[in-house]
Amino acid sequence: MRDLVRDSTLGHILHAISGGKILGWEEDHDHNALSRFVSTGDNARSMDTIELVTSRTSESRHSNEKPSESDVDLGNSNRKSSESEVDLGNSDRKSSERDPDPGTSNKKSSESEAEKGKDYELIDWLPDDPANPRNWSMGKKFFVTFEICFLTTSVYIGSAIYTAGLGGVIEQFHVSETVALLGLTLFVGGYALGPMVWVS
């Protein structure tokens, strides 16, 4: 439940105001909490780079698989084969315009691996990650679903409620019924065109 408040708008505002003291993320209290995400042997980066890298999971997935190394260093390094590992030692990642070019993205991978297309890194959930919505408790899932349903209903009600006040509109603005019904039509037209702007 604490997570729900922390992720809400109020939680973000409190977090920003207090500088991480109230409703902080675990990285605020324990500066080593992120060390499990950092692969050994690379320059350890701060949380800024993690946010930068995880913000690009949807567009490109760079893998830094080195099959020989990962087979050998099973107990040693943090680099697991396919689970969420963020390679923070790559200074090229700071510029997003170099992102689509897998060949030059990672200085550490050899040329031949880049050419074979093996220099991508899969960023995925950790196993049993409490931040993964699939792992939430049923109560939390129901609450979030209820919120989404309520918001959907309230927007749809906004369109239907207008018909109750149609007579008042006709009387107040002295227009015909057709023009007053435009109020309903334009609302529906608006939420038909809205997703083109907001979602894509």
Binding site: T9, S55, I157
Partner: protein
């Protein structure tokens, strides 16, 4: 805009909801029919994100086998809206 990971879907939901409420005030205090219609269109425009991506958000929360049940409930909520409008 919600597909850009920096924004995410929740930010869009909250921001457009706030703007939605404020534009409804514009509808209330409209001086003429043109103003009313313009604000109605704008409220529709700003109210749409949750309608389009609410299903995606719900699908993220539930495991694949349970997604059907959650989607059905969301569909009920979507249809109940226009049905209950004149009642309210």
């Amino acid at each position: 805009m919600s597909e850009i990971p920096f924004f995410g879907r929740t930010t869009i939901y909250i921001l457009t909801l706030v703007v939605f409420v404020f534009f409804q005030f514009g509808v209330i205090y409209a001086k003429n029919i043109g103003m009313l219609l313009a604000f109605r269109f704008l409220t529709g425009l700003f109210g749409s994100p949750v309608l389009a991506t609410g299903g995606a958000t719900i699908a993220d929360v539930y495991a694949p086998r349970k997604q059907v049940y959650a989607m059905a409930i969301w569909g009920v909520a979507a249809v109940c809206g226009p049905a209950l409008g004149p009642l309210v």
